[in-house]
């Protein structure tokens, strides 16, 4: 039974103008929001939004629940931080290199995990990411509990100095929007349609002659690579790569962002990421309360709010968002 069936919303329209409108609103928001909102906070939102969108590509459109996506976020963070700090690479090269590292890891982890389905898939990805966590905890180059600190943001293409927050903001915005449009394009591509077919009924997709394992692995690698892009960017923004980004609780957070925003919607993960990151910011002083509230949101979303914020709006508008 595919996850999307929980809340069947049948959309009559096949036009996508409203998605363009929503996209324009989103771009406008991120373009003018720095006037009122602290830019570092917005950059954090965009990094997590890209992370959640990448995760949603796998769960929302492919029906695969990965409970270990933090391994891609963290791996790319370490790779980018190491490349920028120790090797002195330019930020754009460091981000590309880190994305490639995450894609490689996703290829290995994905080819193991797709050997099992459903719940087992979730448990295997969780166990693999825990293994990766212990690896980073012990290996010397990550700096253990300290992480890699004071990573230089460097100069984009050797020209633009990213230590300036405005330049960095533009850089992050460009990465986020490219990642988002890529996912948007993928969802509407023939490949995206096959993914949805696998999500709805894997056996039927097999009987139609599709090599489903091949498509699932490809989706896993794309999702892992984009999660890596988000992690690398995040490491440059905060000039820090640490164990937090590899921990299983981070894998749980990205599930929560996607669930809250709306599974299988384009814009849901962005909204979910914004809500969760804001909540963490405001509640940071209350310590364990953040965990309790996250747990409560999980329970409420699963029991009564399975469409998520954007999913509800889309249902109300009768148009996919």
């Amino acid at each position: 039974m595919p996850m999307s069936n929980a809340s069947p919303t049948v959309f009559k329209t096949q036009s996508f103008t409203h998605q363009w409108v929503a996209f324009a609103i989103m771009v406008l928001f991120f373009a003018i929001a720095p006037i009122w909102v602290y830019p570092i906070f917005l950059m954090k939102v965009m990094c997590f939004a890209l992370f959640a969108c990448a995760f949603n590509l796998l769960l929302g459109f492919g029906g695969l629940l990965s409970f270990g996506h933090a391994m891609f976020l963290g791996t790319a963070g370490y790779a980018a931080a190491h490349a920028a700090k120790v090797w002195g690479w330019n930020p754009e090269v460091a981000v590309l290199f880190a994305t490639a590292c995450s894609a490689g890891l996703a290829l290995i982890a994905g080819s193991l995990a797709i050997r099992r389905q459903g719940i087992y898939f979730a448990m295997i990805t969780l166990a693999l990411s825990q293994m990766v966590y212990f690896f980073y905890l012990q290996t010397p180059f990550t700096g253990g509990e300290d992480g890699i600190q004071s990573v230089p943001r460097g100069k984009l293409f050797g020209i633009f100095d990213l230590s300036e927050n405005t330049a960095m903001y533009m850089f992050v915005l460009a990465i986020f929007l490219s990642g988002f449009t890529l996912i948007w394009r993928i969802v509407h591509s023939p490949f995206g349609q096959i993914l949805k077919a696998i999500r709805e009924n894997q056996d039927r997709a097999v009987s139609l002659g599709y090599d489903t394992d091949h498509f699932k692995l490809l989706a896993f690698v794309i999702s892992g690579a984009l999660a890596g892009t988000a992690g690398a960017t995040k490491a440059l923004v905060f000039q820090l790569a640490s164990l937090t980004d590899v921990h299983w609780s981070m894998s749980g957070e990205v599930v929560l962002m996607t669930l809250l925003g709306g599974l299988g919607t384009l814009f849901g993960p962005v909204v979910g990421a914004a809500i969760i990151v804001s909540m963490q910011n405001y509640l940071a002083q209350f310590g364990a309360w953040v965990t309790i509230i996250q747990g409560l949101i999980f329970v409420i979303c699963v029991l009564a709010f399975r469409r998520g914020v954007i999913g509800e709006i889309a249902h109300w508008l009768k148009k996919p968002l």
Partner: protein, 294 residues
């Protein structure tokens, strides 16, 4: 005396720790397997419920003066009752949906339970004294065996084998297995399947709480004690395959022992060895050692 260049004291010591860890892996993966068999969900809050067991024992000793022996019976009943409540009020609504929603719900519950205890008690561990009868050690000649640890291994074996016997060899177990295969047919025969499902979840949760009470004197009682062990237990479950009860037991003890041996021969890998074994098993026998691919 040395074996493979390792002092035998160290070797047997680590093997014992491995056996102890294995007892807990076996008890916890057994509970997961029982729940999964009938409910088809993975109980992510299993680790939190294990922690809950240890905490109930700790609090009832310190606030109410209830001793270990009473706790050993009372705590699983109490925590099991909360499991019944969770099944009745929440899990029940999810059976018609994708099974992954059950995983997400129990993950959320685990966050809430762990968060509440972390808020109240902080992250540091608290000691729980082992009962007086078991203070002291057995001298086995080649090593000293703390009495309490011997007790844990014995109880764990008895509980595991008892559960196996009930499920595989009794009439009640036959109903249970039949309901796993075809719930609507079993219900048509007049068996109250929904009640059976509720009680099964309660029983699985009670097993986790029992493991928690037994763990309290060995490990420190702390809000996060269940968070990391549950991921290892997931790997154990993937290795064993959830199809068989005996598989869960054998894999639990076996992987505990292997982990103990790794601590002797290559300590750096002791955290990851179970995950490495999981990877190898996935490559060679994707359905798990005792499982059948559905």
């Amino acid at each position: 005396m040395e074996i493979f260049g390792i002092p035998s004291q160290a070797l047997f010591g680590q093997l014992l720790i491995g056996l102890i860890n294995g007892s807990f892996y076996a008890l916890l993966s057994l509970g997961l397997a029982v729940i999964f068999g009938l409910l088809n969900i993975i109980n992510f809050s299993h680790g939190a419920q294990y922690m809950l067991g240890a905490f109930v024992a700790y609090l009832s000793l310190n606030k109410l003066g209830i001793n270990y022996w009473v706790s050993l019976i009372l705590t699983p009943l109490l925590v099991g009752a909360t499991g019944v409540l969770i099944e009745k009020t929440m899990l029940k609504r999810l059976y018609k949906l994708d099974h992954l929603y059950g995983l997400l719900l129990t993950f959320g519950l685990a966050l809430i339970i762990q968060g509440v205890f972390r808020h109240e008690f902080g992250s540091s561990g608290m000691p729980y004294p082992s009962p007086e009868v078991f203070q002291g050690v057995f001298n086995l000649g080649f090593m000293f065996l703390p009495k309490y640890r011997a007790w844990v291994i014995v109880v764990s074996l008895i509980v595991c084998l008892g559960t196996w016997f009930v499920i595989e060899r009794t009439k009640l177990g036959a109903y249970l297995r039949a309901a796993t295969e075809n719930p609507s047919l079993v219900q048509a025969f007049g068996i109250n399947v929904p009640r059976m499902v509720t009680l099964t979840y309660g029983f699985g949760v009670a097993l986790a709480a029992l493991a928690g009470v037994m763990a309290a004197p060995i490990y420190q009682v702390s809000p996060l004690m269940g968070a990391d062990i549950i991921i290892v237990v997931f790997a154990v479950v993937v290795v064993g395959g959830m199809g068989s009860i005996m598989g869960a037991i054998v894999t639990g003890f076996g992987l505990g022992l292997i982990e103990g041996l790794t601590k002797v021969f290559y300590p750096e890998a002791s955290n990851t060895v179970i995950f490495v074994i999981m990877t190898i098993v996935l490559l060679l026998k994707p359905a798990g050692l005792f499982g059948t691919q559905k």
